[in-house]
């Protein structure tokens, strides 16, 4: 896709904002690294060569019997017996860290939660699970959740705002009143109540939160459509005989996109915050899932183990700050007053 000169100039301007640009890079690196969390931090080896054949436990479950064990269940590669068999009959390629988010380290020198050691760089939590591994997985799920939620709520918000603004009149009046009532609902309580009716998983939570988060962009896009529908070039397009959806998408939406894009990092931020707070309260993702909010709750419950609180505080803080910095950079880059000179 060829970038328009304006987009190129905006990108140039964004680059000159060092804080935003560096934040974007750091965030992207962290995000892509954690996307492959299973390859970085896992209690299953990446690859095993056993009796001349290759196995990939990261991608496939092998029963213990495959490696000469006794049980039909999945092989536990941390089990000293299996480990020894594998090492004598072949070799194992481990990921850099040998802990998954749910791996319990049973040989801790002190009772869990244990303080940072070379084995567990950020210590373990109160169930003996590696904090760094949980952080990697938790960051990934938070960001992914945030991204999907942001995308979903933007699409719904832009469509709702566009329809209201373009058609105006009764549709607009009705939708506006509906949004006023809908946005008056106490979101967090409703999520908690709904969460007690169903066992919330990633998709349930996403759906529930999507019901309340799409309104952020509506007023913005609606205002832009209201303004633009009477512009001469929209009139000209109608006089040309263009169909309504085409006018909305091709002529008006690009105007609204600037405002929308500017908002996205901030919506992403609030999505992450909401998920974290739900997890913190214990109404979020199912128990045992890695998440930033659950780590914060652990930190609160185990004040004698300050590494839990500190790690979760700094990781949430860093994530949100990076996104805010990127957001500020994007906002300035789209600001026509700054870009013109």
């Amino acid at each position: 896709m060829a970038l328009s000169p304006l987009t190129r100039r905006r990108w140039q301007y964004f680059k000159t904002n060092r804080r935003g640009y560096i934040s974007l890079w750091i965030f992207c690196i962290l995000f892509f690294l954690t996307l492959g969390a299973e390859l970085i931090s896992n209690d299953n080896p990446l690859m095993i060569s056993y009796e001349g054949r290759w196995y990939f436990p990261v991608f496939k479950i092998y029963p213990e019997t495959t490696f000469g064990g006794d049980f039909e269940t999945e092989a536990d590669y941390r089990d000293p017996y299996i480990k020894e068999r594998l090492e004598t009959h072949g070799w194992i390629l481990w990921p850099p860290r040998r802990y998954s988010y749910s791996t319990v380290n049973y040989d801790l020198p002190v009772p869990a939660p244990s303080s940072p050691t070379w084995e567990n760089l950020l210590g373990t939590d109160d169930q003996g699970r590696d904090v760094l591994a949980r952080l990697i997985y938790g960051f990934r799920i938070s960001v992914l959740f945030g991204l999907v939620l942001t995308l979903g709520s933007s699409v719904i918000g832009v469509i709702a705002g566009g329809v209201q603004g373009y058609f105006g009149g009764k549709i607009d009046l009705f939708f506006q009143r509906f949004i006023e009532i809908w946005s008056g609902l106490p979101t967090l309580y409703l999520l908690i109540i709904l969460g007690s009716l169903v066992q919330p998983n990633f998709w349930w939570l996403l759906g529930l939160m999507l019901m309340f988060s799409w309104m952020a962009l509506v007023s913005l896009v609606r205002a832009e459509f209201l303004r633009a529908r009477n512009l001469d070039y929209v009139r000209a397009a109608r006089a040309l005989g263009l169909s309504t959806p085409k006018i909305m998408f091709r002529h008006i939406l690009p105007n609204a996109m600037v405002a929308t894009l500017t908002y996205l990092p901030f919506i992403l931020n609030s999505a992450i915050t909401t998920l974290t707070s739900l997890d913190f309260l214990g109404f979020g993702l199912p128990p045992g899932s890695p998440s930033l909010g659950e780590m914060l709750a652990q930190g609160k419950n185990n004040l004698q183990a300050p590494w839990l609180g500190l790690v979760s505080f700094f990781s949430v803080g860093l994530t949100l700050s990076l996104l805010i910095f990127v957001g500020e950079g994007v906002r300035d880059a789209f600001d026509p007053r700054k870009i013109r000179r």
Partner: protein, 528 residues
């Protein structure tokens, strides 16, 4: 003249950042004199005027060299406190757009009182009333309590002038004081300005692009082009024998000539019978319809092939509403037929195939082009709707042809609208309409956002296109000179009603209705 000039600008340079926007201009204004600064938009005339009162965005703006001597005192060297003593009291200013230069949250009285209190410390109701009477505002007692949005454009400009006069200045700077106003109001305001000038013996620095105003008002004139003064002298000299080519071009760009003769066997293209557009007035909690604003009231007209029908009237007379109603872009009652098709009976989908026969060109060339599409996309969009069977190569070919036809270069097709000047953008708008090979082109004030010289070019182009394609034009304008130069027939609108209609020459030579007479007088003699 050996008198000491009131204001003397010497070799003034103005720079924004590193770019010089005004280069070494010099002029003198004697007490009581009217001095006009003429030039097209972007030539640096407003900036020069603003620099006299140091109203530019310093320190972004700077003056690398030059002096502005007012009463032998260099204004550029004076500090903020000294310049405030001059602003409003010795030199005051009237701006172009009276709506945005008045504070929308204050009443007229409060705004004028502020000026009085700043400069004399006291103010009384009678003083303010006297001033409003002086600028001939009707019902001054009542208008004192009005907010700017409750006044008409002319009334707002009178209030602005009253505010400027409150300090009894020696020099009044008027920056395009009548550009935003209708012709009749324009004539009134100009008369007021020259009356007041005589009464107080003020000097007047008039900034304008309209040579008619200059000829009427000024004694001396300086012509600016591209940030330099190219010619200066008395109005008589410059109008009789302009020496600089730019001035000559400005003078010759006044619209001239008449419409070309119609082919004899021209048949009727479009007919409109009793067309009305009523906007409901709604009141109360349940928004009940309590009455109607009759924006267009039972208008009938007919247009033949290759004919131009001029529609004239002041702003708010329903000209644009009429155009939009004919195109079925807003709801209306009445019959509209185009080549025998009854447009008013068709639904919005049924009318779509007919849209290629009637196209529109809007007034503002900046808002009528989608800013995020290239010229090729903008012009080709209509083809996509009406000629979907056309291959890419065929489409490009037609885009190229139409670009050449409106006098643009083919290489321009990949550029975006903001890279073009106003005149070029208007050509693009015309190309967008023309590529569908329409029969009827509605031109809604196509030239009023453009400078005179470019207006003349666009008119030339329109006449040429009409001849080649037998196009019919519905030409909407408030500029009677341009209407005279292109129309065969004219209708005069006032408050949604037709007050006079007939052959163009006939109406201009012998107007019947008093309203038409008033319009013509204001437009051609600047008199009320």
């Amino acid at each position: 003249m050996t008198k000491n000039p009131l204001l003397s600008v010497e070799n003034l340079n103005i720079a924004f950042g590193d770019t010089l926007v005004v280069k070494e201009i010099s002029f003198d204004i004697q007490p009581g004199q009217t001095f006009a600064l003429v030039g097209e938009s972007g030539s640096g005339k407003s900036v020069s005027a603003l620099s006299i009162l140091k109203l530019l965005p310093y320190p972004f703006a700077s003056h690398p060299q030059g002096k502005i001597l007012f009463d032998n005192h260099d204004l550029l060297k004076s500090n903020d406190k000294e310049i405030r003593q001059v602003r409003g009291k010795r030199i005051s200013m009237v701006f172009q757009e009276p709506m945005t230069s008045l504070n929308p949250l204050h009443t007229v009285e409060k705004q004028i009182r502020e000026v009085f209190e700043l400069h004399s410390g006291t103010s009384s109701h009678t003083q303010i009333l006297d001033l409003l009477k002086l600028v001939q505002l009707k019902d001054p007692e009542q208008k004192c309590q009005a907010y700017p949005h409750q006044l008409s454009g002319g009334e707002r400009q009178r209030v602005m002038i009253a505010m400027a006069l409150a300090g009894q200045p020696d020099l009044l700077i008027a920056d395009e004081p009548t550009t935003a106003l209708d012709v009749t109001t324009q004539a009134e305001i100009l008369k007021l300005l020259s009356d007041l000038q005589k009464k107080f013996g003020m000097a007047l620095l008039l900034i304008t692009h309209d040579l008619g105003i200059v000829r009427k008002m000024a004694q001396k004139v300086a012509v600016m082009e591209k940030s330099v003064i190219v010619e200066a002298g008395t109005v008589k000299d410059i109008f009789i024998k302009p020496s600089h080519p730019y001035t000559q071009r400005l003078l010759s760009s006044e619209p001239q000539g008449t419409a070309d003769l119609l082919p004899k066997e021209s048949s009727i293209l479009m007919e409109v019978q009793n067309l009305s557009v009523h906007f409901p007035l709604k009141k109360g909690l349940f928004r009940r319809t309590t009455g109607y604003t009759k924006a267009v009231n039972e208008i009938s007209l007919s247009l033949r092939h290759a004919e131009t029908l001029g529609i004239v009237g002041e702003s708010g007379s329903g000209k644009t509403t009429l155009a939009l109603a004919i195109l079925r872009l807003i709801a209306s009652q009445g019959e509209i037929s185009l080549e025998g098709h009854r447009l008013d009976k068709l639904s919005s989908t049924e009318i779509r195939p007919l849209r290629k026969k009637m196209q529109i060109v809007f007034q503002d060339p900046f808002s009528s082009l989608s800013p995020r599409m290239t010229i090729e996309e903008i012009i080709g969009e209509g083809l996509e709707v009406h000629f979907p069977e056309l291959e890419t190569s065929g489409r490009t070919e037609r885009i190229m042809a139409v670009l050449r036809e409106v006098g643009l270069e083919e290489s321009m097709k990949t550029r975006y609208p903001h890279e073009f000047s106003g005149g070029q953008r208007q050509r693009i708008s015309i190309a967008r309409a023309l590529i569908l090979k329409p029969k009827l082109l509605i031109l809604d004030e196509p030239t009023s956002a453009l400078d005179r010289a470019i207006q003349a070019d666009i008119l030339q182009l329109l006449k040429k296109l009409q001849k080649e394609h037998a196009l019919s034009y519905l030409f909407i304008s408030h500029d009677l000179k341009i209407v005279r130069a292109i129309s065969h027939q004219v209708i005069v609108l006032k408050e949604g009603n037709v007050v006079e209609s007939g052959a163009c020459q006939e109406i201009f030579r012998n107007p019947q209705h008093p309203y038409t007479q008033r319009l013509l007088k204001a437009a051609f003699d600047m008199e009320t």
